[in-house]
Every structure is written in structure tokens, then in C-alpha cells.
């Protein structure tokens, strides 16, 4: 009882602070979405969220491989195809991921390898090293850059986690002949509140250093052991509602998330995860 009351107090504080932000959009074109509701995965360590928070893979046991497809506004050229692999060892956990989007004249590839460690379930720390390359037809050339990423998830109580991650903190950019192509530098701070045994509340704010803010939140409810539902929203230039569903069938997990932009339309995200082995 005390824990629940205490968690509420923490959340009242956090919600009060975070919801008064100026709510505008951020653009993080190159980063693929995750399974988490409203993409609020920074404090969520249930899944390995490639390119979101490298610490997210620290508590996972066994070896997993997955693919995901994100069809942004039903425009093929914007679709992101991703693949990832994660495995745990006695010392550290390792994740490898790659995502591709674009078309013949302009395409982007982001690959990364992460190392994460769980410190006595008190906190998880992860670092990821990414290689980003982009092909630009006008230069008839592929440009590339290395981008570090660092993240942490702290369990401030058994029910509450706080997560922080930063993508491209060094503000690397692609140097073109007459201009630069910006690669987003993103800071994310959020929480994951395990309200009850089968209900999680996720809340997150992101800031692109040369863009604006994004605030996201939502609930993930485990209806049955094999079925989970997700509902939430994020505030960009517009308030965008998101819903999702997750299915667990022995060694396979399926996820389907959708969101509706009031002008640009529907985005769907589908993922399949296969657990090769469990420790």
C-alpha cells in the first residue's frame, strides 16, 4: 500500500513537471520505432530497443533475433526495415541491429552494436556504437559517420524505473561539399511505472537538440499471458494517438502498433521476435 502511494507521489511530481513542457515535434528520421507504446521505451527494459536506449537489453536472458517493418504514412520510400539480434553472456549483454530506409536515389542505413550490463538490478548501463551511411544521388556518393549512444535505466523502487538515453551526443553530421546533413542529436528521459502486475504506464520526453520536444505516454496492459494491449499518445505538432497489440506464441512474439497522424495519415509497425534460447 505504501509503495503504491509512494509511487503516486513520484508520478504526481514527474507528471506535473513534464506535462508543462512546450509540446512540439521532433524529427528523428533515421531511428526506427520500438514495440513500446507511443515509442516511449527509454525506461522500458522488457525488450531490446535497438537505437532507443542501449541499456534496454541489459536484463534480457538468452538469445533473440527479430525483424520489424515500419510503414510510415503508407509511403514505401519512408518505410524502415530493421533486423536485430541480442544475446546475453555471464558478463555483458550484446545487441546488434541494422535499419534501412529510402529508395534508389536517397537511402540510409544505420547499423549498431551495443554492450549493456545489469548492475544487481539497481541500474542498467548500455553503450552503443552506430555506423550511419547515406547515399545521395546528386553527389553520386555514399557518406558515412560513426555515432555513439549511451543509456541508463535506474530502478528507484521495485515498481518505478527512470531511463535516460542520448543518441549522437557528439552532434556528428555528414559533411557535404557545400552544406552539412544534420544527424539528429536526441536526449530522452522517461519513466516506467509498473502500476500493477499486468499494467505498465510509460512516460517519456525527447528533445532533438536542433528541433523541438516530443512528449509521449501510454499504458501497456497484459490481458493474458499471451496477449497484451497498448494505448497511448504522443504530442508532436499534433496529438497523435497510438494503439498496439502483442502476441506471444511459445518462441515467437508478434507486435503490431499503429498511429494516426491527422494530416499525414496512418503509420503501421509490425515486428516478429524469435527466441532462440533462454538462459
Amino acid at each position: 500500500m505504501f509503495t503504491v502511494l509512494f509511487m503516486r507521489k513520484i508520478y504526481l511530481f514527474l507528471l506535473f513537471i513534464l506535462t508543462v513542457f512546450v509540446l512540439k515535434s521532433q524529427t528523428s528520421d533515421i531511428i526506427p520505432s520500438t514495440f513500446a507504446v507511443a515509442n516511449a521505451s527509454v525506461a522500458d527494459n522488457k525488450y531490446y530497443s535497438a537505437f532507443q536506449n542501449p541499456a534496454s537489453g541489459a536484463t534480457l536472458n538468452g538469445t533473440q533475433v527479430g525483424i520489424q517493418y515500419e510503414n510510415k504514412y503508407i509511403i514505401n520510400a519512408l518505410a524502415k526495415k530493421s533486423i536485430y539480434f541480442s544475446t546475453s553472456t555471464s558478463l555483458i549483454n550484446i545487441g546488434i541491429a541494422a535499419t534501412y530506409s529510402g529508395y534508389e536515389l536517397h537511402n540510409e542505413l544505420l547499423t549498431g552494436i551495443s554492450i549493456s550490463k545489469n548492475f544487481s538490478n539497481i541500474f542498467q548501463l548500455g553503450v552503443q556504437y552506430n555506423y550511419y551511411s547515406v547515399y545521395l544521388a546528386e553527389a553520386n556518393k555514399r557518406f558515412a559517420s560513426f555515432l555513439p549512444q549511451i543509456g541508463i535505466i535506474v530502478s528507484v523502487s521495485p515498481a518505478v524505473k527512470i531511463g535516460f538515453s542520448t543518441f549522437n551526443p557528439g552532434q556528428q553530421k555528414i559533411q557535404l561539399k557545400y552544406s552539412n546533413k544534420q544527424i539528429p542529436t536526441i536526449f530522452s528521459l522517461g519513466t516506467n511505472w509498473n502500476v500493477s502486475e499486468n499494467l505498465d504506464f510509460l512516460f517519456q520526453t525527447d528533445k532533438n537538440i536542433s528541433g523541438n520536444y516530443r512528449v509521449a505516454g501510454g499504458f501497456e496492459y497484459e490481458v493474458k499471458e499471451f496477449l497484451s494491449l497498448k494505448i497511448g499518445a504522443y504530442q508532436a505538432e499534433y496529438l497523435i494517438p497510438t494503439v498496439g497489440i502483442g502476441l506471444k506464441l511459445k518462441t515467437f512474439d508478434f507486435y503490431l502498433n499503429t498511429e494516426l497522424h491527422p494530416i499525414l495519415g496512418l503509420t503501421t509497425f509490425a515486428a516478429i521476435k524469435y527466441t532462440i534460447s533462454k538462459d
Binding site: F119, F123, Q171
Partner: protein, 682 residues
């Protein structure tokens, strides 16, 4: 029955705190936390070294709670007057403490206060301060330390860029190298005898060359306590603080902070000065004698100060201590400032009365530029000021104040009442009036502006503990500047409000939320409208600190808003994630921070504390859009040698091409600083 309750309470207290010991902060962390609370809203540089030295020396020579005095307890800056009063009253009623944890039975003390006190107090029977001193003991048991520090900025500043003149000679605006270096040698024997020397060279100052040889700043200090008939003897560089600071306060002045009750200046008397601060000290000799119920302090200072002199006149003191360029070098030590001061205080049981006087002679005439706002600033060659202070304690009521005059017909008075109706609530009221003509060299009393003059105001602060683990602190300060100020071309008014809620649900988890609102008046930027306008700044800050064993994290989110009559509202945002880890098997501790700030306008700038190496305390200013991260490392090579290293980088994301201006200008959008410190302790 009362004894039983006391025993049971004591048991509960020991149980609750005993388990907290493992997670207790180090003295260094506690001092940093306290200083951060004090200075969180400060926009001026405050001498951290002196503050740190005062408290850290208490960890090596802890106060014996059973034999302590009010005066000794006042050294613990984080205790309010009411807490000190309650502690003294508790000792009077109960004779002595059986255990240190009994402190929580004292009214007004909670677990946080007790934890903070732990490194600085002890329970014992004898008082080292009364023991006779033998030279062989001093030499054998005295603690010696040597501290060597080096700082450097990685990026080249404009001031170091060499240019070649028509005759083929190359030179740069700064004479010296971009390396900052200081060396300190300290000796301390049980807080009875201390002496040491400090040497410093700022970045850009020449260490060895045509203009200068050796360090730019040298200082020496000596202090002896309770030796012969003297309560205190100081020589070399020292500080002097008396009463409420209207005549003398070269120490840490009382100011507005989230310690809303701590607005009463602590009468610190004469104290050694070992800091690298190059301006705020006296240089000479002084002593405090005890005669019956009275104490008399006499001191003399003769020091060189910096100013731009022309025809034996100067218009202001040059206080940066930087001598990097030809023009800065020309200001070095151009004025001699002689000061003679005295203070006497008499204890009359419930009341204490004091009198302070100062007379200063300058070698040249101070003649401020003629401008309306500084019409009342002091000008002349000799200045005399004198004041009388008092403090009366009547149970839970504490009345205090000081009134002072200066020879140019200046007048200042500050008076307050601190009242604690219950053990869970305290309130302080402070009224001040500093006339525009009261402009003295060493005054540093409670005020809104940095100068103790041209101000009148009323401050009300309170602290309430409404529920277990909760503390609410609030203040309201309403003030008026009867004459013009720099940047304000008319008499003006202002209000300042603060509300802070602290919540400590568990021993390893604490959080606070602070809301501050300030409204002032300033010149309008709209031309030709020559008027002053209201300017408001508000901020909201949430901070969460979590620790578990040797690991701790801290999150901070802050938003601020500015608004004025002729401009649109502006918003600033900053957030950071801190991570600290202390290794178990290796004597190594690390601190990491990653921070984001988005304050496109200077008005929305942030002052955010960051961890640093020993004796350094950073509250950098942030505006623009960017990020900052640092890595701080401490390694104890053995029991005698410790090493510190820090690297910090600020990286702007707002497409700026340069950082800073003038000789400090850096090309690019990155600024990287490294610091290294070596400590040898014997």
C-alpha cells in the same frame, strides 16, 4: 514514564538511522549539497574554498556535542538559529548526549539534519580546545597537505593567438600560457594551529617571462586558537565577519536560498583565509581577546589592490584577479588599502551586544564615474564606518539586528525576529534599510543586490514539516531601491517568492520541487520610450536523487519563463542525468553527467551546479541550445596520495560559429576543459 518514552524513542531513532549509515554521504558530498542549496539561485561567484575549508576542518576535529557551545554550533552553516537554540536547550536540560543519534530527539531536527551532522560532531568527555599545546605534539600530530592543481581549456582562445607586427615580432594579447595552476601547502593541528601558503597563476597569466616571474598570486595565513590569553590570533591573509555584516563581512554572507530560515549572519570573528580568491580578504594581523564576559577583536590590514589609476585617482576596484593582458597588468597592485578594525561583544545572559568600527585609508582617491546611478557611491580617500549589533534570545523567540553609520552620512539597519511556535514550524521576519549613501568597503549583509546599499525591504521566510518525511520551505521578499541602479534609471521595486517541497520517503531516495518567481524593474529596451518596465522571471525545478550502496543517480528538470511589458514571454529548459559510482575493490570513484539546455535567450540562462575536483565548485552558466557532459574521477593511490581528474565539454547545437567574445573567443561550437589535482596528505 518520560524516561521510558525517551529510551523507546532513542531505540527507534538508532534503528532507523543505524541502517542508514551504509548509505551515508561523505563529508565532501554533504558540503557540496549544502553549498548547492545555498547558492542554487546565486548569480555571483561565492568563495567555495573558504566555505569548504571551514566545514572540512570540522570533520578532522569534530565538535564534541556534550561540551559544545552556541558559537561552535554556528560553524555548521546548515543549522538554523532555532535548531542551534533547541540543541543548546536540550543539552541544558539533559546534561549530555549518550549517543549521537539522540540528536533526533531535539526539536526541529529530522533524520536528514542528523545525517548531515554526523561527519562534523562526536560524543566525548574532553575538549581538545582547552588542552595545553606542546610543540613536539604539534610537530608530530599536525596534519600536512600539499595540493597541486592544473586546468586547461583544449580549444585555443583568441587571446593566445600570436600576431606578427611590422617589425617581425610576434605577440599575443595574453602574456602567459593557457594553463591554470595553483599550489597549496597547509598545516593543521587539531584546529588549534593552522598555517599555510597558496600560490596561483590564472590561465593567460605569465609564469616566467619578461613581464612577470613566478606565480601571480601568493598568500600566507596563520591562525592559532586558545593560545596564551588569545582566543584567536591571525596573521597573513584572514577574514573578518561581525554582527549582521553591515560593517565587516568578508566571509560567506547570508542570502536568499532554500534554507529559508538561515538569514541571520553568523558572527564568525577573525578567521584564516586560505582560498585562491584574490580580493575578498584582509592582509595583516589580528587577535581576539576574552575579558570576562566580553570579547575584543582588533586587527590591522595593509594590502595592495588592483585599480585603473589616473592622476592618483581611480573610479572602481578591479576585482577579477586576472593579469593576462597589458591593460590588466597595468592595474595590478596600484592601490594600497590600509584598514584598522575593532569589534567588541558582551554576553549578558539572554542578550548579546556588540560594537564594530572600521577605518580605511586608500593611497589614491576613489572617484566613481559621474553618472546618475552612482551619485551616492562612496568617493574619497578615507572611510569610517561603525555599527552596533544585538541578539536577544527569549525561549523560542530570537531577536537580532545591527545598525551602522558611515562618515559620508550613510545609514543602514537590519533587524529580524526568528520565531518557532512549534517544533514543526519556524518563521523569520527580516527588515532592512540601507540608505543610498551607505556604501562601505566591507559590508556584506542580507540584500537583493550585491552591494549593501540603496535598498529597503522586508523578508519573511518559513519552514514547516507538515508530515513525516516532508518539509516545506517558503519565502517572500519585497524590496525597493530608493535610488537608481545600474541598468535601472529610476527608483524601482521588486518581489521575490520561493516555495520548495522536500520529500524523503526512504533513506536512499529524496526529491524536491522548487518554484521561484521574481519580479523586478529594468530599463525599457524600446527607444525612444525612456521608462522602466516590469520584468518577471519564474522557474520550476524538480530534482530526484537516488542511491543504492556505492551507486547514485540524480535527475534534474528545470523550466524557466521570462516576461516583460514590451517583449513576448520566453521559455528555457534544462535537464540532466547524473551517475556516480564508487568501486568496491579499487579506491576509485567516478561521476558522469549528461545535460541538455535550451535557453535561446540570455534572460533564460541557467545556473546549474556540477561536481568538480576538490576545492573547486562549479556553477556554470548556460544559455543557447546545447549539451554538456563531464567525467569526474577520483583515485586514492594510497592513504597519502589522492588524484582527481575532470573533463567537461559543452557543445552548442544552435549553429553558432564562435563561443564567448573578446580574448576569450573560441572558434567552433565546442568548449572543453580539463582539470587535474594531486593531493599529498601526511
Amino acid at each position: 514514564m518520560q524516561l521510558k518514552i525517551r529510551i523507546i524513542s532513542l531505540f527507534l531513532v538508532i534503528y532507523s538511522i543505524g541502517s542508514a549509515q551504509n548509505a551515508s554521504q561523505t563529508a565532501e558530498e554533504i558540503i557540496n549539497d549544502i553549498f548547492e542549496q545555498y547558492t542554487a539561485e546565486a548569480e555571483e561567484t561565492i568563495d567555495y574554498e573558504s566555505f569548504y575549508n571551514d566545514l572540512i576542518s570540522l570533520t578532522e576535529n569534530q565538535l564534541n556535542l556534550n561540551l559544545t557551545t552556541r558559537e561552535e554550533l554556528e560553524k555548521l552553516a546548515f543549522l538554523s538559529d532555532m535548531q542551534i537554540e533547541n540543541l543548546v536547550a536540550y543539552l541544558y536540560k539533559n546534561t549530555k548526549f549518550n549517543t549521537i543519534y539522540e540528536l533526533q530527539l531535539v526539536d526541529g531536527f529530522d533524520m536528514t539534519d542528523v545525517r548531515r551532522m554526523l561527519p562534523f560532531v562526536k560524543i566525548g568527555e574532553s575538549n581538545d580546545l582547552q588542552d595545553k599545546i606542546y610543540l613536539n605534539e604539534v610537530l608530530k600530530y599536525g596534519k600536512k597537505e600539499a595540493i597541486f592543481r592544473v586546468d586547461k581549456s583544449i580549444e585555443k582562445k583568441k587571446g593566445y593567438t600570436k600576431t606578427v607586427d611590422s617589425q617581425g615580432f610576434s605577440s599575443s594579447p595574453y602574456y602567459g600560457s593557457p594553463i591554470y595552476n595553483s599550489l597549496k601547502l597547509n598545516f593543521n593541528f587539531k584546529n588549534r594551529i593552522s598555517l599555510g601558503t597558496t600560490m596561483e597563476k590564472d590561465a593567460g597569466e605569465q609564469f616566467w617571462g619578461g613581464k612577470h616571474k613566478g606565480y601571480d598570486f601568493y598568500s600566507f595565513y596563520f591562525q592559532a586558537n586558545n593560545v596564551l590569553k588569545l582566543k584567536t590570533l591571525v596573521a597573513g591573509n584572514y577574514r573578518a565577519s561581525f554582527g549582521q555584516g553591515l560593517v565587516f563581512n568578508s566571509g560567506f554572507g547570508s542570502s536568499k536560498s532554500s534554507y529559508t530560515l538561515n538569514v541571520v549572519s553568523r558572527d564568525n570573528g577573525l578567521k584564516k583565509f586560505s582560498s585562491t580568491d584574490e580580493t575578498n580578504y584582509f592582509k595583516g594581523i589580528g587577535g581576539t581577546f576574552k575579558i570576562g564576559k566580553s570579547e575584543i577583536s582588533l586587527f590591522y590590514s595593509n594590502k595592495k589592490i588592483d585599480a585603473d589609476t589616473i592622476d592618483e585617482k581611480f573610479n572602481s576596484f578591479y576585482r577579477t584577479g586576472l593579469h593576462r593582458t597589458e591593460s590588466e597588468f597595468a592595474k595590478k597592485h596600484t592601490i594600497t588599502m590600509q584598514t584598522i578594525g575593532m569589534h567588541t561583544t558582551t554576553n549578558l545572559g539572554l542578550a548579546r551586544l556588540g560594537f564594530t568600527a572600521a577605518h580605511t585609508i586608500l593611497s589614491d582617491t576613489l572617484a566613481p564615474e559621474i553618472a546618475p546611478y552612482n551619485l551616492n557611491f562612496y568617493s574619497g580617500i578615507r572611510q569610517t564606518s561603525a555599527g552596533s549589533d544585538y541578539r536577544v534570545r527569549l525561549g523560542t523567540l530570537n531577536v537580532f539586528g545591527e545598525t551602522a553609520f558611515s562618515n559620508n552620512k550613510g545609514f543602514a539597519t537590519i533587524n529580524g525576529i526568528l520565531f518557532s511556535p512549534t517544533s514543526t514550524a519556524s518563521i523569520v521576519t527580516l527588515w532592512r534599510y540601507y540608505s543610498p549613501k551607505y556604501d562601505t568597503f566591507y559590508a556584506n549583509a542580507f540584500s537583493e543586490s550585491t552591494r549593501t546599499n540603496n535598498e529597503t525591504g522586508m523578508y519573511i521566510g518559513s519552514e514547516i514539516r507538515p508530515f513525516r518525511n516532508w518539509k516545506l520551505s517558503a519565502y517572500v521578499d519585497s524590496y525597493r531601491f530608493p535610488w537608481l541602479k545600474y541598468g535601472v534609471n529610476a527608483p524601482s521595486t521588486g518581489q521575490d517568492y520561493l516555495l520548495q517541497a522536500d520529500f524523503n520517503p526512504k533513506r536512499n531516495l529524496s526529491m524536491n520541487c522548487r518554484i521561484r518567481y521574481e519580479q523586478k524593474q529594468q530599463n525599457s529596451n524600446i527607444i525612444p520610450i525612456r521608462t522602466i518596465e516590469n520584468y518577471a522571471k519564474s522557474s520550476i525545478r524538480y530534482q530526484l536523487v537516488f542511491s543504492n550502496g556505492n551507486f547514485s543517480t540524480k535527475n534534474l528538470v528545470e523550466l524557466n519563463f521570462t516576461d516583460s511589458a514590451f517583449t513576448s514571454p520566453k521559455v528555457g529548459f534544462a535537464a540532466y542525468q547524473d551517475l556516480s559510482f564508487e568501486f568496491e575493490k579499487v579506491p576509485l570513484s567516478i561521476d558522469l553527467r549528461c545535460m541538455l539546455f535550451d535557453a535561446k535567450n540570455y534572460e533564460n540562462r541557467f545556473y546549474l551546479y556540477e561536481k568538480d575536483i576538490l576545492y573547486a565548485f562549479s556553477i556554470p552558466t548556460f544559455y543557447g541550445v546545447g549539451m554538456r557532459y563531464y567525467f569526474n574521477l577520483k583515485y586514492d593511490l594510497n592513504k597519502n596520495i589522492s588524484l582527481w581528474f575532470k573533463i567537461a565539454q559543452t557543445m552548442y547545437g544552435d549553429a553558432r560559429k564562435t563561443i564567448s567574445s573578446g580574448n576569450e573567443e573560441i572558434q567552433g561550437n565546442k568548449k572543453t576543459d580539463i582539470r587535474f589535482m594531486f593531493l599529498y596528505r601526511l
